[in-house]
């Protein structure tokens, strides 16, 4: 791949119902604003996995009825995805996209095997949650929206993305939300999570592009000011502060 940044979206025709795949747009736009070349590659359902290791893979949420078909389509590429991750590719996995790459999924009374690329078992929760989700994390207070049926159980020792301030998150007693490690950000914050919370995007881009990456560009400052206002409106509606007080 010739660009400084290559972002691969996986089956966006099914995993973009909440706009999750558009995080690729956020990453490529921010990289270009900082002077880097960037491209988005779409891996379409039915096609072989694209050649060349991407810098970031985005797997968004699909609706439950299509999950078995997506698992079948992903399975032959499991080795490739694992090799990419081990070679430094970052993965952003959102909602049922995380469940697909995780260990198991409880679906319609059955337990399906995930790709086991990421930790996390998606288990029956206490009913669908569809609401705002606010999380305090090392990247500051993250604000977004969650819409999921299942909870996620993390293996002991996993590091969540943050702690739930408002919402359900992973559904665990310790109010954990998401998962983060050197290679992965997994979360229930769906849709344009990187646009609304640019600190996450910038952390990812700095890791891929190195010290040459900067968010101090005029276009990035304009969208980040807009994002700050958007987070503030949501937090205020929920009676919260828009910034992490800790």
């Amino acid at each position: 791949m010739t660009a400084d940044l290559t972002v691969l979206t996986v089956f966006a025709e099914q995993t973009n119902v909440n706009g999750d795949a558009e995080n690729a747009l956020v990453l490529t736009a921010r990289a270009r604003w900082a002077g880097f070349s960037a491209q988005r590659v779409d891996w379409r359902l039915g096609d072989p996995v694209p050649k060349g290791r991407p810098d970031v893979v985005v797997v968004g949420s699909a609706t439950d009825p299509v999950l078995p078909a997506l698992l079948d389509a992903l399975r032959p590429a499991a080795t490739t995805l694992r090799r990419w991750r081990d070679a430094g590719t970052r993965i952003l996995a959102i909602g049922t996209g995380w469940e697909l790459l995780g260990q198991t999924i409880h679906l319609d009374g059955q337990t399906l095997e995930g790709l086991a690329l990421l930790p996390g078992r998606a288990v029956a929760g206490s009913g669908r949650v569809t609401d705002d989700l606010v999380v305090d994390s090392p990247f500051g207070r993250l604000v977004g929206f969650e819409n999921h049926l299942r909870d996620v159980v993390l293996p002991a020792g996993s590091v969540p993305l943050g702690r739930v301030v408002y919402g359900r998150g992973n559904g665990s007693d310790d109010r954990a939300e998401g998962l983060v490690d050197d290679t992965v950000i997994a979360t229930h914050l769906h849709g344009p999570v990187l646009a609304k919370n640019p600190a996450l995007a910038d952390d990812l881009l700095s890791q891929v592009l190195g010290a040459g990456y900067t968010a101090r560009t005029a276009p990035a400052e304009l969208v980040d000011e807009t994002a700050r206002a958007a987070r503030s409106v949501i937090a205020t509606r929920l009676g919260l502060s828009a910034t992490d007080v800790a």
Binding site: N18, G19, A29, T63, T130, G144, P192, T226
Partner: protein, 415 residues
């Protein structure tokens, strides 16, 4: 006379509601009557000599209903219909209360009702519609419906009640699937677009799943050509030109749905010439491409209902418009699902407003659209926009979601 007390009480409530708030309170009488007399709605809807027609689907309901009513009236039928703002059960009951006599009867030959998918599925089991017209299944209101499969399920519940014909969009794979499981004896009346029309819309027509093949002209009502506000339709093998209420292939599809529905209702009495002439005379529904004179200037109003209609409407706008207003309100619980829409062709939006203004501005800016001002106060924002100089290209255009549409109409005194 069983419903007379409930009807009287409902009317009193209506008078009281209107005294309290002029033009308001339209759902409250329905709410009261539905509580006092739960069978009023189904009993009244069963009382039309030529039966009941239900129009439902993710989008295009209002325009299709309006067109179908126009065609049936042109054929001499007296039609009872509901305003598009009253498509949920209490609104339907309120609309019936407006016209019903104390015996629970309405002086009309047939009822043609637009129904919200969710509410329609809830009340459908009490109804026996002669004809059900389904427009499409789109990814819509995810926080309420979760996924398009659920929407298809609700439409399936409504469709299963059809006693005569099920009128379906043959380009929508989920509706085709649903038609395959219809009640025995129900006749399928399909409509759709030609391969050429589909090819002219490279992003598709917004359906959650588009069918692999197109409907043959001999098998139904087919849109064969769309050019701006002009379209051609093939009806029973004959070609007919029509004029659409506004630009866009989706309005031609609405016309095909209405014509197929009218054929199902009228049978041998259907006159294609009369039908297409009456459809061509239909004015746009407010917010569906309607042009209104406001404060001495022409303004076009465009309603965005879901990602598909957002994309279709953006794509059908005249190119190079330089005075655009865009408001997204509280009806959009979470704007995330609008992010896949490529709004870049808007170029510049002068004023962004509504309670979701910042999230909308964020999407627009990432799509490379310049945003002039973000103003949360919708009334103030509209005033600012209308005070801007006349555009260089076209006319001022207001794009909004349902909640912002209602507030804008109220602010501008548009009824």
């Amino acid at each position: 006379m069983a419903f007379a007390p409930a009807i009287l009480i409902g009317r009193l409530v209506r008078v009281a509601a209107r005294l309290r708030k002029r033009g308001g309170g339209s759902a409250v009488p329905g709410l009261v009557v539905n509580r006092l007399a739960p069978r009023f709605l189904s009993a009244t809807l069963a009382g039309f000599p030529q039966g009941l027609v239900i129009v439902s689907g993710s989008s295009g309901k209002s325009t299709t209903t309006k067109m179908l009513v126009a065609v049936l009236e042109a054929h001499g039928l007296r039609v009872f219909t509901n305003p598009s703002t009253a498509n949920i059960s209490q609104g339907l009951t309120s609309a019936l209360l407006e016209r019903v006599d104390l015996r629970g009867r309405i002086l009309a030959d047939i009822a043609v009702l637009e129904m919200d998918e969710g509410h329609g599925a809830l009340i459908a089991p009490q109804l026996a519609p002669r004809v059900v017209v389904l427009t499409n299944v789109m990814t819509d209101q995810i926080d309420r419906f979760h996924d398009s499969e659920k929407v298809a399920g609700m439409l399936g519940t409504i469709a299963s009640r059809a006693t005569g014909s099920l009128v379906i969009n043959a380009d929508d794979a989920m509706l085709l699937e649903l038609a395959a499981h219809r009640a025995p004896g129900t006749v399928i009346a399909p409509y759709g677009v030609s391969q050429g029309v589909l090819a002219a819309n490279p992003r598709g027509l917004g359906y959650a799943q588009t069918a692999a093949t197109r409907l043959a002209q001999r098998d139904g009502t087919v849109v064969t050509e769309v050019d701006g506000r002009s379209a051609r339709l093939s009806i029973a093998g004959g070609e007919h030109p029509i004029t659409l209420p506004a630009r866009g292939t989706h309005y031609a599809v609405d016309a095909a749905a209405a014509l197929a529905g009218a054929r199902a209702v009228l049978g041998a009495d259907f006159d294609a010439e009369r039908a297409t002439t009456s459809i061509s005379a239909v004015a746009p529904v407010f917010g569906r491409g309607e042009i209104v004179t406001v404060r001495d200037q022409q303004v076009e109003f465009v309603l965005v209902q879901n990602p598909a209609s957002y994309q279709l409407n953006v794509d059908s706008l005249e190119k190079g418009l330089d005075q655009l207003f865009f408001a997204m309100g509280s009806d959009v619980r979470d704007p995330s699902y609008f992010w896949p829409v490529d709004s870049s062709s808007l170029g510049r939006v002068a004023v962004v407003s509504g309670s979701k203004a910042d999230e909308l501005a964020l999407q627009l800016r990432y799509r490379g659209v310049e945003v002039g001002a973000v103003d949360h106060d919708l009334a103030h924002a509209i005033d600012t926009f209308l005070a801007l100089p006349a555009p260089r290209t076209g006319i001022k255009t207001v794009i909004f979601t349902a909640d912002s549409m209602r507030r804008t109409r109220a602010h501008l005194g548009l009824v």
